[in-house]
Amino acid sequence: MVARDLWLIPAVPIVAAGLIALLKQPMRRLSAWLAIGSLSFSLLLSLAAFAHVVAGWINGNAVREVVNLTWIQVGVSRVELGWILDPLSAVMLVMVTFVGLLIFIYSTGYMEQDENFTRFFCFLSLFAGAMLGVVISNSMLMLFMGWELVGLTSYLLIGFWYQKPAAAAAAKKAFITTRVGDIFFLLGIVWLFAQTGTLLFYNHGSGSMEGLALAGLLSQHAAFGLTAAGAIGLLIFAGAAGKSGQFPLHVWLPDAMEGPTPVSALIHAATMVAAGVFLIARVYPLMAAGALLTNGSGLAGTTTALIVVTWVGAGTAVFAALIAVGQNDIKRILAYSTVSQLGYMMAGLGLGGVAVGMFHLITHAFFKSLLFLGAGSVIHGCHEEQDVRRMGGLKADMPLTFVTYAIGMLALCGFPIFFSGFWSKDGILEAAHQPDAIKGPFYLLVFGALLTAFYMTRQVSYVFFGTWRGHKPAHESPRVMTVPLAILAFFAMALGLIGTPAWPWFRAFLEGRAAGFDWRGFAEPGLMALMLTSSAVVFLGLGLGWWLYGSKSPSPEAPDVLEKDAPWIWAALRDRLYVDELYGVTVIAFYAWWARVADWLDRRVWGGIVAAVAKLFALWAQLNRLLDVYWVDGSFDKACEELSIGGGLIARAQNGRVQIYLRILALAVVVLAAILIWSARP
């Protein structure tokens, strides 16, 4: 049975992390091998699990194997841990381990010069382990543990170059911001536990994600006309929003780009930020409870929770895309695009159910990590230059990077037919276009798609076209970095095939339905039109971008094209729509004030009291001392004198000659024995 050994998948990298932590700094090669080896092992296991699930599915029975164990038992309420093997976790496992492995290999090249190589890989494999833990967990608590651990490693890795104040600040920001979400998440967990009495998702009918518990939750009524299910769902969604940077908690993600690029690729593009989406997918039955379909298939969006998810997702998608237009830092652009793509996923979940969102998650994981690694390669080649305006014409210098990057970019824009991004995004749009769905999100998402194409074109033409505007000439990256790019590029294209309307293999797999191939999938009403529209939108974005920025190379100091036409919009976009500033004047200001108050209290009030008490005790101590000196000591000394005199007397007998002692001993024995026997006689 595969599920029984599933725990090995997260355990191995964590153990490896522990081992690496014990290594000395110069043992770079060994640490790298440990990390990569452990993750490859996990990858193999994941593939085995995946194969197991697929085999089960092809035989016509949807696999959902759970292994549960009780961790603590207090009275009747039990804190349970457990892991689950179902299509969702299987897919995620493969994705995380595979992308992770590629990124590990890539980092050996990227971090080559860094002297904290071993520490880096320690953190990386710790992260991998924690993430896998999140993926397989069948218990809210276990998931939360992994969740927090992931957050911690993210914090550590963002602040990996803690010498840079920016990095340290970014790390703190990420940690605190996500914490805000996690508080709500924890509340949600506790509430759920209080309501259903179990932490397990699936437990043969008694889990919290299964009919019985859900029915119970629906009957409960919380505030604002929400059912308990809806309220809990919203709380959990707040946590998810924190992790995967949904508005308004997205602010940390762009700053997180201060970390090393592989980290950005692995954690802040492919896996961790997707954890939020995954979480929603995992608790989807809860979110969709009340929509009368708790089996996780699409056509939902009819519960409050899901509506909120949808709107937040769509809003974030557009919002972040807008900001991305105004950025000049290559990684920041990608970061904002990540945020907006996450928005897409959320919207997909909200509108089209698990399959739609998850499909976009998977494809996005591949092409976005591809883009990030490509960006890393570019930065590497341009000697740590990150400003797109100081690059240009790199397609000649770094051909491999250029090709792969272009593929990733097209996939992200959703270029028709050949790229996975198209199919996944199209799925979302299709879901949004359902006749019975609200229309608002749909238009937002389309607009987002346009923006996506636009800013990606802008970035690419800045970076790869035109003439070289940097100082030192660029160079292509080593093989160890380009090969993963190629592999990822392949998948960025190929993955689309499993999600076409003609052959919705992925969706069928997740929803446990049989997958068949027929062309009539395209013939659904309005589908063709929709596809054409989205393609048109994409082409429009590409064209617009090329028209504005294509292959003309302005000097870095020259104002942006948009800036000339609409300065104030540009300013707004460049300054990230002032969200940070907003926080600055509200939240942070409040905290500063409160801190000052607390400080004043400390100094004046509590400090004074403490000082007074201390004085009192000092006085008392003085009193005691006098007592000691003049009363206790005197008598004690006298006694001691007496003792020493007596000791002197006795000591005479001890003349240090062993045999004398022996003799005395023997004599004593004789005498004693004699007395004994004599007294024993009648």
């Binding site: 005479r652 007998a653 003349n655 240090g656 062993v658 045999q659 022996l662 023997a666």
Partner: protein
Amino acid sequence: MNGFASPLAAYLMVAALLFAIGLAGALTRRNAILVLISIELMLNAANLNFIAFWRYGPHPEALTGMMFAIFSIAVAAAEAAVGLGLIIAIYRHTQTTDLDEIKRMKG
């Protein structure tokens, strides 16, 4: 043919004699090493007693006396090692092993 009604008594007598001899040696010889040897003799006398009592005791199969003897042999080895080590250490400080000279422990 022997003066004792019981063989055990004979062994006990021999043991007592040996013990006394050892004691005499321990109490009279000057050389620390010889004192140690004499003490070993006393121990052996005790062992003889144990074995004899085991042999003629009511329950030889319980092996009590035998075990006592074996353990005391083992302990005696340790005792000899430590004792000689001490003597050597003492010799290193006061270039002698003559007990009449060694009075460092004088109170």
